[in-house]
């Protein structure tokens, strides 16, 4: 978010005469500024009148400070930050909404009121202004009503009334005082074993303007309104992490953070890490660095360069303090003062900034330039715009792990796939896929929902993203982030099942390579995927972040196959699992060519699957006003599906395929068919054989595939499920299934889903595991 507003006057307030700005004094200054624009009372605007009418008698007003953090209760929680009085008020109000649905709490959006009108009277203060929101707000106007109490009384609760621009009331929240700090950040500082890190610096030790005080890292951020809460997990990091030369690379620093940061997660969180380290590979004069610029979660200070905390002189201690605060400032998404124009949205560079984020050598002030002039004038603080960002920037633009360094906007709502603040859903969602794919290979992911609370949960088994209960976000590293959008969204009622100790999970697989936006993995590179499951109780369960690499073709065959698979018509055929439509003829021709030229290539199996599945059912088309039906092509379907099934079973035990799925760089980059698709192909093959009158062939194939999965060690209840699904082809099993108590539920479920002769679409056939 940008705090830049060329329509407003400068933000700065001089230091308050007695150290603290009161709300009354701020209101008085505001009223005087409005009065100065209004020559006579008759010409006064309504706003100026109201302010003047409410103008306080300063002598009578000794009330408690208001600035700080407030919070409401309820399913929609408002965190309110009032910043109107105190030592360095920015004269702003901001907030965040949090949604509690089921057992999860998610961030719902941020807002900021830049120039609220302050009206104070004897018994209450009214703060009013129109905000900017991170979402489209129908009620952008905010009115805070705050009872005025004596300085010795507890802080009062604040009524926050949202309104439309014309004043029609919207939602109201009652927010209770929580903290004098606007934000609280969990802070962990680890140190390399033989390093004495920085502790504190007394600002009176060297010439400096302003109030003398002793500053620690926490104290400097406290002055900015940010509370640093010690994580309690300080560690010594062994120097051997940096190798024999004591020099760290960014990847080694990241490794130190992930290993030693007691509460590290790869998600946005109000947590930040700093390592007191030795030296960085970038050189002998690098004092500090934020080493994960995409995530902004960790930074390091290099004490071999900046000096040791033990026995350091004043200049060294001052340099250490600046380096610690500066690097942590990057973690909160602050650019250098001379690089503000490179942010999004861009800001003017501020070479005259007296800020922690400036390089003293680059300072160009009115009283001189360079490091000497900087230190003579530096009051040990962030500049005004940085202060506004830290206190009131939209949450995802500030929080470590939020938006990438320098970015105040994103391609999609960054909250949509954010980790819940709390997760008591009792469920876990897992996304799985091979680690690498040749570009053009259909990307199929497995989605697994499992129980974490063994008391059990009722869940919706519709896990396929086509059914609308699961969304999958796809981010190309360094590129855009999109949400997978199926070509056709199926309107499907939730299908509820119970997960318990005996059936602790369900799963499904989904082809997500092609959808409404075209090919989602059309360019080589690294991709990150994350799924969101909307549970029946409202909980939003986030999956792991799945990383896959799309590799470019390495030889002529791979290049040819990639071309044959990368057309829109091929994407549509893969999505639909085949079609006779004339509109997709080019796609079918491409698949036919792939099967002809590369009949044994792993990638061709996907073309065979599409064509085999399509041939296994009749296809109706409208020609010359008449419906024409192409009957099932038993022979073609059996041939193609047999090749798919036998090929996938062979590849399962092929070491090169195993290596490819594990991401071994030199390995084959076309993964074999996933298990769920394989089971689908095998079941359809059995069905085709049975319909063609080859009951014994159907039974034999069904038994082979069951034995295959059993040999793979799938859990017992999954074996039961597969057995139930295949039982219609093996008469002995069918009779067992109908009488076996163990299989009674699963068999019933299978029949409900359309088990038997008429099979339901694959997407509605999740399995319990």
């Amino acid at each position: 978010m940008s705090a830049f507003d060329p329509t407003s006057v400068a933000h700065s307030l001089p230091p308050a005469p007695d150290g603290l700005w009161s709300l009354d004094k701020i209101a008085q200054m505001q009223a005087e500024a409005i009065e100065a624009l209004v020559p006579t009372p008759a010409q006064a605007t309504e706003a100026a009148e109201s302010v003047r009418a409410a103008r306080p008698t300063l002598a009578s007003m000794r009330t408690t400070l208001l600035s700080g953090r407030y919070r409401s209760a309820g399913d929609t929680e408002l965190e309110l930050r009032i910043d109107l009085d105190g030592e360095r008020p920015t004269r702003r109000v901001s907030g965040d909404f949090y949604r509690r649905t089921g057992g999860t709490v998610n961030h719902g959006g941020s807002f900021l009121v830049n120039t609220p009108t302050i009206m104070v009277a004897a018994t209450e203060a009214i703060i009013e202004g129109e905000g900017v929101f991170s979402f489209q707000s129908a009620s952008p106007k905010l009115r805070l009503t705050i009872p005025r109490v004596s300085p010795t009384a507890p802080r009062p609760s604040v009524s926050a009334q949202f309104m439309t621009s014309s004043g029609v009331p919207g939602a109201t929240f009652t927010c209770h005082y929580e903290s004098p700090f606007f934000r609280t950040v969990e802070f962990e500082r680890d140190q390399v074993t033989d390093i004495t890190p920085f502790d504190s610096y007394d600002t009176s030790r060297l010439p400096a303007p302003g109030r003398a005080r002793v500053l620690t890292v926490a104290a400097a951020y406290a002055e900015a309104g940010i509370e640093f809460a010690d994580s309690g997990g300080t560690n010594n990091v062994p120097i051997d992490l940096a190798g024999s030369d004591r020099i760290f690379s960014n990847s080694e620093l990241h490794d130190a953070m992930t290993t030693h940061f007691s509460r590290w997660t790869n998600d946005p969180a109000w947590r930040v890490y700093i390592l007191a380290a030795t030296k960085h590979e970038l050189g002998d004069n690098l004092r500090g660095i934020m080493f994960d610029s995409d995530k902004r979660q960790g930074c390091a200070v290099f004490h071999d360069v900046v000096g040791s905390g033990s026995g350091a002189n004043d200049t060294t201690l001052r340099a250490m303090l600046r380096t610690y605060i500066h690097e942590l400032g990057h973690c909160f998404n602050l650019y250098h003062s001379h690089q503000k124009e490179l942010m999004s949205p861009p800001r003017p560079n501020r070479l005259d900034a007296l800020s922690w984020m400036h390089y003293p050598d680059y300072y160009r002030g009115t009283g001189g330039s360079g490091a000497g002039a900087y230190w003579r004038a530096f009051p040990f603080q962030f500049d005004d715009e940085e202060l506004i960002h830290l206190r009131h920037g939209f949450r995802n633009a500030v929080i470590p792990g939020g938006q990438p360094f320098g970015i105040g906007a994103a391609d999609i709502d960054p909250d949509a796939f954010a980790e819940p603040i709390k997760d008591e859903s009792g469920l876990a969602l897992e996304l799985r896929a091979p680690a690498q794919f040749l570009v053009g290979t259909p990307v199929v992911v497995e989605i697994k929902l499992s129980l974490t609370d063994l008391r059990g949960r009722t869940v919706n088994k519709q896990l396929h993203p086509n059914l609308g209960y699961v969304q999958i976000g796809i981010a190309r590293v360094g590129g855009k982030t999109l949400v997978y959008r199926p070509m056709i969204t199926h309107c499907s009622e939730p299908a509820l099942v119970n997960l318990d100790r005996d059936h602790p999970s369900i799963y499904d697989s989904a082809y997500i390579g092609y959808g409404k936006d075209g090919f989602y993995f059309g360019a080589p590179g690294q991709y990150e995927l994350r799924a969101l499951y909307n549970a029946p109780d409202g909980s939003k369960v986030m999956s792991n972040i799945l990383r896959i690499r799309i590799k470019p073709p390495l030889d002529r065959t791979e290049g040819d196959l990639a071309d044959l698979f990368m057309g829109d018509e091929q994407g549509t055929l893969l999505y639909l699992l085949g079609s006779d439509s004339n509109h997709l003829k080019k796609g079918r021709d491409a698949f036919a060519l792939a099967m002809d030229k590369y009949p044994d290539h792993t990638m061709t199996a996907y073309a065979k699957l599409v064509e085999g599945m399509n041939a296994s059912k009749p296809f109706k088309s409208l020609q010359d006003g008449k419906i024409s039906v192409r009957p099932t092509d038993f022979e073609r379907s059996e041939k193609l599906l047999s090749e798919v099934v036998s090929g996938a079973m062979r590849a399962t035990n092929d070491p090169t395929t195993v290596a490819a799925e594990a991401g071994t760089p030199q390995a084959d980059v076309v993964p074999r068919l996933d298990n769920i698709s394989l089971e689908m192909a095998a079941s359809r093959l059995a069905e085709v054989r049975k319909e063609a009158g080859n009951a014994s062939g159907a039974a034999e194939g069904a038994r082979i595939i069951f034995d295959f999965f059993s040999a793979q060690g799938v859990p017992k209840h999954v074996q039961s499920e597969i057995r139930a699904q295949l039982s219609s082809y093996i008469p002995v099993w069918a009779s067992e299934s109908s009488t076996s108590p163990e299989n009674a539920d699963v068999g019933a479920a299978s029949k409900k889903r359309g088990g038997g002769k008429k099979r339901a679409p694959k997407s509605s056939r999740p399995r319990q595991r």
Partner: protein, 183 residues
């Protein structure tokens, strides 16, 4: 790759000359040093001034000062943790015989002073100042800076910069030595 020794002025198509308004300055006073880079060749040359990180030798072009005083060599500036991307405005086209001050941020260039020179007057004594320029970058990445450029024009600027970089002569040279007495 081992860097070649810098060429002296007159041996390269560009010369760098340091000059001072006064050779003798009181301690604590400002030392005004003028840096002049001149195209000595008969053709136009594209060159880049002192962008952030250049003085620390953290990126190309490297404009690295050498200041030797009574207590030995002065240390260089702090290495910046993030260096700015090069932008088209950072390039100067010098016609034959034309010169420019590589620290003067005119026409949108993000140039900075050689900050080490400002420390000369902190202690009395005799100082020898010189400036090295190296454009012998081992790779394109060594020019481009490390800070993510989030501006809307970042992509088009980067493409333009890549083209402009092919015009920059690869050289490594050293200025004259300027002697200054601080009293």
């Amino acid at each position: 790759m081992r860097a070649r020794a810098p060429l002296a002025n007159g041996s390269a198509p560009i010369s760098i000359v340091l000059s001072a308004l006064a050779r003798q300055v009181p301690a604590g006073a400002e030392l005004a040093i003028v840096i002049t880079a001149r195209n000595l060749s008969s053709a136009a040359i594209r060159i880049i001034g002192v962008v952030d990180g250049a003085e620390a030798g953290a990126r190309f072009p490297k404009w690295v000062p050498h200041v030797v005083g009574p207590k030995g060599r002065l240390s260089g500036p702090e290495t910046p943790d993030f260096t700015s991307p090069l932008r088209p405005a950072d390039f100067r086209l010098l016609e034959a015989g034309q010169s420019f001050d590589p620290t003067d941020p005119v026409d949108g260039a993000s140039y900075f002073p050689i900050t080490t020179f400002a420390h000369v007057t902190e202690e009395p004594g005799d100082y020898a100042l010189s400036l090295e320029l190296s454009t012998e970058a081992p790779s394109a990445a060594a020019w481009l800076g490390t800070l993510p450029d989030r501006r809307p024009q970042a992509q088009s600027d980067a493409e333009h910069v890549t083209r402009l970089l092919t015009d920059v002569p690869r050289l490594h040279l050293r200025s004259n030595t300027l002697n200054v007495k601080v009293i």
